[in-house]
């Protein structure tokens, strides 16, 4: 584990914790924000509705004061209708009496006074509080067709006019309250009017600001702005023409609000323009006008938005602290792992005594450390044992090599080669030390003793038995006794104390080089081949099994040029991978295939090679020994 991986582990874990916490916070803040927004919006709606009610009441109070003044004056007009000149005093009195009223007229129907087509005395407020009067109707100003005259005359009821700009007079937006005055028969004979300035109302409305960008609109009976609340230039325009004038797209919600207001309903509606969401509360005013308060939700939620900003800031700082503390805690927790990995690396490099770090808490890491500690000790012990056993093996192997050398040295390699005699032998042990043996020696120049043996079993025990057998043969043969006596004596000496039940098969022979007579005794060994054919041999019994066994002697006379081939069963029982054995037939075939001129060495090598080729890489199970003797000539043959 390197530093980068460890860092990223801490960082990864901290990041995950922070991420999950962030998600939880976001959800919590989101839920809190939504619910607080809902509550705030609801409160805002209610307070806007209350404010609207209060505003409408205030406007109505203003209007009612004017209406009451006018109504009170109506009876005076009715009483004095036959004194036309008094009408100036009446209108003047009305204007003087009520500050709100800028002007007042009593406009009579045509020809009410005989010969007088227009009669409309009009008093109006001029600067510095004075009131002046004049006659309103002229040929140029045929008031009979003006709205303020005609509508109440036709309806027979008082009404407020649409807002209008008084260009000739007060130079401001006004509205006129017109009251139809009826005679005793109920016919309207005059209209009493009172003009009021709308600036007072608009100023009052402008002062109503529950939120910084909220505004109050007031529209007339026909839907024209008395006060748009946004722009004074819109006065007299309708909600619909405003949208057209402002170049804004028609808004379904705004249209619906306008329609609902025009129907004289009280209500509340939400609408969106661009990304701005607002709501409007609206309701009718007693004179047929309608008022509305429009508020931007951003204003409404501004307070909570600020609160949320603070909350988010606090959470962000909290998350940062959480990340840092997680990071440092995990780093601290994983520190022992880092230390351990360093120790492990050191151990891996062969420093088995590297101390492992101490772990403070009894947790998984300490368990890991303890397991590691156990492993370290086991490893140390194992390597110690391995070193020891390797050393032992090495010693044993070197001893085996020495044993093998001794055994090989025991075998004569000084092969006689002269005009009379040729001899060669080969021994290939299956293990380092084997149980096969061969031996030969010239007793005198005409007498050759030879032997080939095979101890049951292999390895060190067999090789020791082989050494005893070989020594016994040398020692006993040199007494010059007949071969069957030699074998019997070897047998007896091997039987003596042979507790391990080892035995040895052996073929021993004595060749008289001058006569060609071969005297031999077989002790349970493979038969020998003379001139490419097996010679008859008695089996007798392998040596070391039965003391006093009567071994029988055999003889055969050989002619000059005869070749004796002796071997152990390692040759005939050599196996291929399919368990097929080399066998006697193949051996005979191999020997018969050799030229007479071959040396004994070549005979041995050829047979061994043939067996080796036959086995074709299969493991050699048994020792292989071959001995080849050629009787080149005999004294008799010379003679």
């Amino acid at each position: 584990m390197n530093a980068a991986a460890k860092t990223s582990f801490s960082r990864r874990l901290s990041s995950t914790v922070v991420l999950i916490t962030s998600i939880l916070f976001i959800v919590a803040i989101g839920v809190a924000a939504v619910s607080s927004h809902l509550i705030l919006a609801d409160e805002a709606h209610k307070s806007a509705e209350n404010l609207l009610d209060a505003t409408i009441k205030e406007i109505e109070n203003k209007l009612i004061r004017v209406e009451v003044s006018v109504k009170n004056t109506v009876t005076t007009v009715q009483k004095l209708k036959n004194s036309p000149e008094k009408m100036y005093d009446i209108t003047q009195g009305l204007v003087m009496e009520n500050d709100e009223i800028l002007g007042s007229a009593v406009a009579f129907v045509p020809e009410y006074y005989k010969g007088v087509h227009f009669y409309a005395p009009y008093s109006f407020r001029v600067s510095d509080g004075k009131v002046e009067s004049k006659q309103l109707g002229t040929a140029q100003y045929d008031y009979f067709y003006s709205d303020w005259f005609q509508i109440p005359q036709l309806l027979g009821e008082p009404c407020w006019s649409e807002p209008y700009f008084d260009e000739g007079g007060a130079q401001e937006y006004m509205s006129t309250y017109s009251y139809p005055i009826k005679d005793d028969q109920g016919n309207v004979f005059a209209i009493l009017t009172a003009d009021i300035s709308l600036s007072g109302i608009t100023e009052f409305l402008a002062s109503i600001k529950p939120y910084p960008s909220s505004y109050v609109s007031l529209i007339s009976r026909s839907g024209r702005y008395v006060n748009s609340g946004v722009n004074d230039d819109l006065r007299g325009e309708t909600v619909f023409s405003t949208q057209f004038l402002m170049g804004t797209k028609e808004n379904e919600d705004i249209n619906q609000i306008a329609a609902d207001m025009m129907a004289g309903n009280k209500g509340k509606h939400k609408y969106r323009v661009g990304n701005k969401i607002s709501f409007a509360v609206y309701g009718p005013v007693s004179n047929g006008w309608k008022a509305s308060i429009t508020c931007d939700y951003r204003d409404v939620l501004a307070r909570t938005s600020k609160m949320h900003m603070i909350l988010v800031l606090v959470v962000l700082v909290g998350l940062l602290i959480l990340f840092l503390s997680c990071y440092s805690t995990i780093r601290k927790l994983t520190k022992p792992l880092t230390d351990m990995s360093e120790s492990a690396l050191s151990i891996a490099k062969g420093n088995f005594n590297t101390p492992l770090p101490d772990i403070k808490y009894d947790d998984e890491i300490r368990h890991l450390r303890n397991s590691f500690d156990y492993m370290q000790h086991s490893l140390t012990e194992y390597i110690e044992n391995l070193k020891k056993s390797t050393a032992e093996n090495e010693r044993f192997e070197s001893e085996l090599t020495i044993a093998s050398d001794i055994q090989m040295a025991m075998l004569s390699s000084d092969f006689p080669e002269n005009g009379n005699l040729g001899l060669h032998a080969m021994l290939k042990p299956a293990k380092e030390v084997g149980g096969d043996l061969y031996d030969f020696f010239l007793m005198d120049k005409d007498t050759l003793y030879f032997a080939v043996g095979d101890v049951s079993g292999k390895g060190v025990p067999a090789s020791m038995f082989m050494a005893i057998t070989r020594s016994a043969f040398r020692f006993i043969a040199k007494t010059g006794a007949p071969m069957n006596d030699v074998v019997s004596q070897i047998n007896n000496s091997l039987c003596d104390g042979n507790d391990s039940q080892l035995f040895v098969t052996m073929f021993v022979g004595k060749l008289n080089l001058s006569t060609g007579e071969l005297e031999y005794c077989n002790a349970g060994h493979n038969p020998v081949i003379v001139n490419g054919s097996y010679v008859p041999v008695k089996a007798n019994l392998a040596l070391g099994l039965m003391p006093g066994f009567p071994y029988q002697l055999q003889t055969v006379n050989l002619t000059a040029g005869s070749r004796i081939f002796v071997y152990t069963d390692g040759i005939t029982e050599a196996e291929r991978s399919d368990k097929e054995q080399y066998g006697e037939e193949r051996l005979l075939e191999c020997i018969r295939g050799l030229k007479q001129s071959c040396s004994d060495k070549e005979v041995c090598e050829s047979v061994v090679k043939s067996v080796h080729d036959f086995a074709d890489g299969n493991v050699q199970n048994d020792d292989i020994t071959v001995l080849s003797i050629t009787l080149k000539q005999t004294t008799a043959s010379l003679a």
Binding site: G524, P527, N540, D622
Partner: protein
């Protein structure tokens, strides 16, 4: 080398199956331990399915034979394949162990 030992009254039948060589000689020796411990041995060893024996195998048969002889018991090997019989003959074991 599979060894099957069945006892019938006083006589014990042993059936050998397979090759007896260096690799399994030790195991074979263990397998026939009950025979060595038999106080009154009378063995008939069936060699019909014995394919081969090495000199180590011979040694074990010899030990068995000696154990039988020392207790005055009987041991006979039957149905031996010619190539196996040859080994017994060459080494002279046929002189010590009864083979029919």
């Amino acid at each position: 080398m599979d060894v099957t030992i069945t006892k019938n009254d006083a006589k014990t039948f042993v059936v050998l199956n397979g090759r007896l060589d260096t690799t399994n000689a030790d195991q074979f020796q263990k397998d026939i331990t009950p025979l060595m411990e038999d106080p009154a041995p009378d063995f008939e060893i069936d060699c019909t399915e014995m394919q081969y024996t090495s000199s180590q195998g011979l040694r074990i048969f010899l030990m068995l034979q000696k154990s039988v002889s020392s207790k005055g018991g009987k041991m006979v090997m039957v149905n031996m394949k010619p190539q196996v019989k040859e080994v017994f003959d060459i080494t002279g074991f046929s002189n010590i162990i009864k083979i029919i």
